[in-house]
């Protein structure tokens, strides 16, 4: 079980259409769309977005690790999505978590992430 590492980026809540069209600054940015109006852009250092009321905040409140789907699935009482890319949210080992399933990983790994406040607990439960 690799350690859950802190994920740093930008958290943006904005009109869904504005988020769709947002331009992210930074290299190797991964945008996780938690909700139509809510995105966590891992690795992002800035964003251009057409919503004057958008909430844009630095985000360091999540931790995650790349794991095999089986390693995550055995601790979830719900099936991981079959399609990719996909973002799933639910309890993993009874801890609120999210699972990012990209379509560009050769090893098929998925990113398990949770609030940093839960990271130690989740890590100990998956060990």
């Amino acid at each position: 079980m690799p350690a859950l590492e802190r994920l740093v980026g930008l958290r943006v809540v904005a009109d869904p259409a504005a988020l769709d069209a947002a331009r992210w600054h930074g290299s190797d940015v991964t945008v996780l769309r938690f909700a139509p109006d809510d995105a966590f852009a891992i690795g992002a250092e800035g964003v251009d977005i057409e919503d004057e009321y958008a909430i844009v905040e630095p985000e360091a409140g999540f931790a995650g690790a790349w794991l095999s789907p089986d390693a995550v699935g055995r601790h979830a009482e719900w099936p991981l999505p079959a399609e990719r890319p996909a973002l799933a949210q639910g309890f993993v080992a009874t801890v609120p978590a999210k699972v990012w399933l990209p379509d560009d990983r050769d090893d098929g790994a998925v990113l398990l992430l949770t609030a940093a406040a839960y990271a130690d607990e989740l890590e100990s439960r998956l060990r």
């Binding site: 802190r6 740093v8 958290r11 809540v13 904005a14 109006d37 809510d38 009321y53 958008a54 909430i55 905040e57 630095p58 985000e59 360091a60 409140g61 089986d70 699935g73 055995r74 009482e77 080992a93 009874t94 801890v95 609120p96 609030a115 940093a116 406040a117 839960y118 130690d120 607990e121 989740l122 439960r125």
Partner: protein, 745 residues
């Protein structure tokens, strides 16, 4: 294999032979493992259950006899339940480990339950197809107790629990034998044909045996003709003395003396596991998949030995309208015992079929199919997760005693709560308040939203200023409280209690949707940490940390403190000047250490919840959830000042307007008395009656007496009450600095 030896049954030694189960050993000794009833010795019924080595409800027929194993028979039916086991004292301040039972995960394509001929054939077929297979056979010690969606098969094994993650499940579980239902069927000496076969193989003397149905090969027994009518008792031994059968044509009864009655009354699918599978892909094969005829409908006698339900009981429940199997079992308790209908379900279905003409489908089964211990059930399972602030390890390093509060691990104290209290009152102290709920709301309709959400005014809060607010529901009851901090014309930060943030967020989102307002919401509770710097020297410390001009009371600014970007809020919960520093979680440790270092010569020390609760109690501040009840109104708290009824509308306004005209018999008040503070929750007495309870208590180091907050539920509210056997006086709050000079300093 054990070579034989002795087990201890109800305190007396009982010899066993190699290969004996506990039940067989007891039967070999001429005793019975339970309290009579037909024994199947196949794990299907509940008639051999006993306490084994301290664990109740163990199927002794499935438990191998080992030297020294201690067996205690359960109380006879009607004499109560087996006693609960002794539980060792548990340190509740430490997270439970739940690791006492080994748990192994197994990933296979096919899990076969049952190692009989059909199970082995299914496994062989799967293997030939190149699929990974595991066979779980109770006879080999792998006892499947549950099937869940997933699919997941849970098995109890001698080495612990095995969780099998399978793509497909094959249930090759065979059949169970039908138990007799007639008068006398609770007597000892009644066994099924399979049980007779097992006892014969073990060399157990059955005495004078008779058989209804075909006895197993090699078992010597007189085969009786005719239908079973009743069993008669040997009153001296409590065992069966005779069996009475009736000629199916003439009805003439025949009484046959017997020590043992072997019952071959038919079979029923052993399908309990398949019936709990739900949508999991389970294929039932072999005898378990075959349709079996139901037994004759019973007319008299005990139908459910586990729960003591008689055929007459079924009739009573039926006549009351419980005329479906699912309802009937609940009303009569038949099939609800330890064997979950393993013995009685075929008879209950037959009884219903005789009344309705339709055979009811078996009911859905629920895990676990066998009695398992709580440790087995909880193995590899988890309790609710409690969050840790980024300062968790700092607290531990400082010797904090951690406790769970509001869904978080929090420092209760650092070894000396009174010293922490004095640091706040006379010097400077820091506390970890990262757990507070923190929402950002932004949008063109944000003022309209907050004006409707909160009972206080919002529009007049200027950017850079803040206001305390209650959060009410439609009934005018207090849901939460916190601060409203305005950042710009269209953006606010809202704070909530540690345990209330998630509900508050949902509350806001729901109303935004209902009202169709344009407001964005972002929950920052777990993205921002917060440190409360409080005490008369707090301001001086922040100046040292680079905050040249700390905000005045109820002001807030964004500024660097010790090099860390902070949202600095000038508030007070402790009664002294206080600054909350909200900052990114990944910089919290650095900020904490800087503050501790910069404040060293000021006598800084951290404070935990115990001191914080005492400090707030002296100020009479409410803690929603701890002091409040589900129907607490601002009036009951004495907080009408937080509600502006001149506002045309806000959530709860209508209810407050109506209830304001009604008398109220509850008040949350302050109390004081000499001596040490009583425990929170202590009843409050008046004239011999309990008239309330204490919600917060603290022995004030400053005032030298016990201070309490609590409820009175009797009018007229008495001025003196009795708490913890002492006279206490109702006292105005705040107890400390009522004018608020120190908080605003």
């Amino acid at each position: 294999m054990t070579e034989g030896g002795r087990i201890v049954v109800d305190g007396a030694p009982v010899a066993f032979e190699a290969g004996d189960s506990v039940a067989v050993a007891i039967l070999r000794a001429g005793e019975v493992p339970g309290h009579g009833g037909t024994l199947c010795l196949a794990g299907d019924c509940g008639n051999c259950l006993a306490e084994v080595d301290g664990t109740a409800y163990v199927r002794t027929c499935q438990t191998r006899a080992e030297p020294g194993l201690r067996v205690t028979r359960h109380p006879a039916p009607g004499d109560g339940m087996p006693p609960l086991p002794e539980v060792a004292s548990v340190d509740l301040t430490s997270p439970p480990t739940g690791r006492e039972i080994e748990v192994r995960h197994l990933d296979v394509e096919v899990a076969v339950i049952g190692g009989g001929a059909s199970g082995r054939a299914a496994a062989a077929d799967a293997e030939r197809a190149g699929r990974s297979v595991v066979v779980l056979d109770a006879g080999a010690g792998d006892e499947v107790v549950a099937i869940y969606a997933g699919p997941l098969v849970v098995a109890r094994t001698p080495a612990g629990m095995v969780l099998v993650h399978a793509h497909e499940i094959v249930a090759a579980t065979g059949t169970a034998e039908v138990h007799p239902v007639c008068p006398g069927n609770r007597l000892a000496g009644l066994i099924t044909a399979r049980a007779a076969e097992a006892l014969h193989a073990a060399g157990v003397d059955l005495g004078e045996a008779v058989a209804i149905g075909t006895p197993p090969a090699g078992v010597s027994a007189t085969v009786l003709d005719g239908g079973l009518v009743r069993f008669e008792a040997n009153d001296a031994t409590g065992r069966v003395r005779a069996v009475v059968t009736a000629d199916p044509t003439t009805g003439a009864e025949t009484t046959t003396l017997a020590d043992t009655v072997i019952l071959g009354l038919g079979r029923a699918p052993r399908d309990l596991l398949a019936r709990m599978a739900g949508t999991a892909p389970v294929a039932v094969v072999g005898a378990a998949a075959e349709t079996q005829p139901l037994p004759p409908a019973p007319t008299e006698g005990l139908i459910c030995g586990c729960m003591g339900t008689t055929v007459e009981d079924l009739g009573v429940a039926w006549d009351r309208g419980f005329t479906e199997l699912e309802l009937l079992k609940r009303a009569s308790q038949a099939c609800l015992g330890p064997c979950q209908g393993g013995a009685c379900l075929p008879n209950v279905r037959a009884w219903i079929a005789a009344r309705t003409g339709d055979v009811p489908e078996p009911f859905t089964a629920r895990p676990a199919s066998r009695q398992i211990t709580l440790a087995e059930a909880g193995a590899d399972g988890f309790v609710d997760a409690f969050r840790r602030t980024p300062l968790h390890d700092e607290h531990l390093a400082l010797g904090a005693r951690m406790d769970r509060f509001g869904g978080w691990w929090r420092p209760w104290h650092y070894g000396d709560a009174v010293a922490e209290y004095w640091a706040v009152r006379e010097g400077v102290s820091i506390g970890d308040v990262s757990t507070l709920g923190k929402l950002v709301v932004s949008g063109p309709d944000v003022v309209a939203l907050l004006e409707r959400i909160y009972p206080c005014h919002v529009a007049d809060i200027k950017p850079g200023r803040s206001r305390y607010a209650l959060l009410l529901n439609e009934r005018g009851h207090v849901m939460d409280d916190g601060m409203i901090l305005r950042e710009s014309e269209t953006r606010f930060v809202l704070s909530f209690t540690s345990g209330g943030a998630a509900n508050a967020e949902m509350w806001l989102r729901d109303w935004i949707e209902v009202w169709g307002l344009r407001v964005h919401v972002l929950d920052r509770t777990m993205s921002l940490a917060a440190i409360n710097v409080t005490g008369p020297l707090a301001r001086a410390l922040l100046v040292r940390a680079g905050l040249a001009d700390p905000p005045r009371f109820l002001g807030h600014v964004h500024a660097d403190v010790a090099g860390v970007p902070c949202h600095v809020m000038r508030l007070s919960f402790t009664g002294e000047a206080a600054f909350e520093l909200h900052h990114p979680v990944d910089q919290s440790v650095a900020l904490w250490r800087q503050l501790m270092e910069l404040g060293a010569d000021l006598g800084i020390r951290p404070h935990g919840l115990q001191a914080l609760f005492g400090l707030r109690l002296e100020k009479g501040h409410v803690i929603v959830g701890m002091d409040t009840e589900l129907d607490t109104t601002p009036r009951r708290l004495g907080m009408d000042w937080a509600v502006r009824m001149e506002k045309p509308r806000f959530i709860g306004r209508g209810s407050l307007e109506r209830t304001a005209k009604l008398p109220d018999h509850r008040r949350w008040l302050g109390f004081q008395m000499d001596g040490a503070a009583p425990a929170e929750g202590t009843p409050i007495w008046s004239d011999g009656d309990v008239v309330g309870n204490v919600t917060g208590s603290w022995t004030s180091p400053l005032l030298g007496k016990a201070l309490m907050l609590g409820w009175l539920r009797r009018t007229p509210f008495p001025e003196r009450v009795e708490i913890d056997g002492r006279v206490a006086a109702v006292a105005p709050t705040p107890f400390y600095d009522p004018e608020g000079h120190r908080a605003r300093a």
